[in-house]
């Protein structure tokens, strides 16, 4: 599917730049040539299930990803921050045969696993690993039509510039890649992951980026790294992957008034479910009437759709590949209805029991972020023999802050806004928080 789109772009605008990967400009024509070469090399491999090392930071990487969309069977995308030995384990865990990478115009076989009788596969699939914060990651299977389900095609996007604020092997990263690629836009992929804020801020201005898709955490980092007098031509910011609060939306509107701020509610398994364009936190209550979302005991449930995964790859494959059913799947997100909005409260598994009271750490983070001098904050529970858990706040202070004074201000502000059990008891100051591979704040770390 992607190869045909690329061919169309290469014919219509051969010398236009489709990607700026790791600082190097890649034209549609040069990319198309490389993809043809790779399709030829890949056709000699007989594997029906393979792992591809893809970071998207070179034209070889991008060509491998695009060429894989014409290969029968499953292509599992893995970033190079998985070590070679770990990736070989994954190859065996997910019963794959080839471990492939691309460099210097060639497909490189990094590992091979012979199967006595490879099962031929009908169809072409793309598979992504979930972040797997606990235990082994799961592998989610899509076909290219499903995973492109949320792409909006419009000729106005031709030549427009996107900055990739996710890793390309994440569900959200693939969405940004597809949105830009299908429409013939130009995708700028930073050369470092985890991102370097100074570089990404520079990229926004240097490449005149109009569209930025990223997590709320990434966006806060960019906001703090923007010099006051820096002109950024952003037209649209789309946040995803994490809860978005009004404080962030309002700060973006103040600093970048020309940019529309949207947020997307999506998961790797269900795909994109809601897109909120009214620059308010949460989403309108009316969306609950559409029939694919409902609230059961305070938790948001969603139905699988034509944009959702086909199922998980692996042992339970047969059972999880069932087509869309009428069953409701819990999203793990706790919500509340306030006036006409459904407001996200936090993840069910992130709630902290403090002395018998359930505390939502996201709400506490929101209150702490209101305190001047706090650059970033993450709140989580720390096990305690008396209270069950105590709330711990990890603070990243702005550069000129005295930590002791800041802590006093945070405590005073929390006491004025929160019940006593929701006021953090333990504090730690750091220069950086810990993040997941998809650039969300990692709590308890």
């Amino acid at each position: 599917m992607l190869v045909a789109i690329l061919e169309k772009h290469a014919k219509r605008m051969p010398d236009e730049i489709g990607f700026i990967a790791g600082g190097v400009e890649v034209t549609w024509l040069s990319l198309h040539r490389k993809v043809k070469l790779f399709c030829d090399q890949l056709s000699r491999r007989r594997a029906s299930r393979r792992i591809l090392y893809v970071d998207g930071r070179t034209s070889d990487d991008l060509a491998l990803l695009i060429a894989s969309s014409s290969l029968p069977g499953e292509s599992i995308l893995v970033s190079s921050f998985h070590s070679e030995s770990r990736t070989k384990e994954l190859l065996s865990e997910f019963d794959g045969e080839d471990l492939l990478a691309a460099e210097n115009d060639r497909i490189k076989v990094v590992g091979e696993r012979k199967k006595p009788s490879p099962t031929p596969s009908a169809g072409t699939y793309v598979c992504l690993l979930t972040s797997g914060t606990t235990g082994s990651p799961k592998c989610v299977k899509y076909d290219w039509e499903r995973i492109s389900g949320a792409v909006s095609e419009n000729s106005k996007y031709v030549g427009r510039r996107w900055l990739m604020g996710y890793h390309i092997t994440n569900f959200a990263g693939i969405q940004v890649f597809l949105q830009c690629f299908v429409n013939g836009g130009c995708l700028v992929i930073p050369d470092q992951w985890p991102p370097s804020w100074a570089n990404d801020v520079e990229a926004l201005s240097k490449y005149q980026i109009q569209y930025l898709n990223c997590t709320a955490t990434y966006m806060r980092k960019i906001l703090f790294s923007l010099a006051d007098d820096m002109e950024i031509p952003l037209k649209s910011i789309t946040l995803g992957g994490e809860m978005v609060d009004q404080v962030l939306i309002d700060s973006l509107k103040r600093r970048l008034p020309a940019a529309k701020v949207n947020h997307i509610y999506a998961s790797t398994e269900l795909g994109a479910t809601i897109e909120v364009r009214d620059e308010k936190e949460g989403f309108p209550k009316e969306l609950l009437l559409r029939g694919n979302l409902r609230i059961i005991e305070g938790e948001l449930y969603a139905k699988k759709s034509h944009r959702s995964m086909l199922g998980y790859l692996g042992l339970t494959e047969a059972s999880s590949m069932a087509p869309e059913s009428d069953s409701w799947l819990p999203t793990g997100d706790l919500v509340d209805i306030e006036n006409d909005r459904v407001i996200f409260l936090g993840r069910r598994d992130s709630m902290v029991n403090v002395g018998g009271f359930k505390v939502n750490p996201f709400g506490v983070e929101g209150v702490i972020r209101e305190v001047k001098g706090v650059k970033e904050v993450s709140v989580s529970g720390q096990k305690n023999p008396i209270a069950g858990n105590l709330l711990k706040a990890i603070l990243v202070p702005c550069s000129d802050q005295d930590e002791k004074e800041l802590k006093t201000r945070v405590l005073e502000h929390c006491r004025s806004r929160l019940p006593y059990y929701s006021v953090p008891r333990l504090f730690e100051f750091r220069e950086e928080l810990t993040y997941t591979s998809s650039y969300k704040v990692k709590r308890n770390a």
């Binding site: 002395g355 096990k383 305690n384 023999p385 008396i386 209270a387 105590l390 802590k407 059990y421 008891r425």
Partner: protein, 114 residues
Amino acid sequence: MTRDEIEKNVLNCIRQVASDQSIDLEEMKFHHAIVEDLGFASLDVATLTAFLESTFKVDPFTSGMAVITEIRTIQDICNLYDRCLNGSEDKGQGSNLNQSDDARLKRRMTRKAG
């Protein structure tokens, strides 16, 4: 760690909790009870155990060396960590904190009156 160092660290942890939680500590004596005399609420005691754990790098409550309900006074805490760290305990009171009981009695009276 010597007994003196243990006592100093325990008192520092108590002062830290009191300062964070705006608890007024007029004076501390080793026989003062954390809850009744110093006025710590249960979350303050929980916070104190967390501070002690981070200071002494041992957690006698989770490891089963101590039951929290049996630890009432500052002295009890010092003895507990002495036992954990040195395998011994000094039942004697701290050197500079065994003066008058006035403040403690006053606090108890205030609590009763309240």
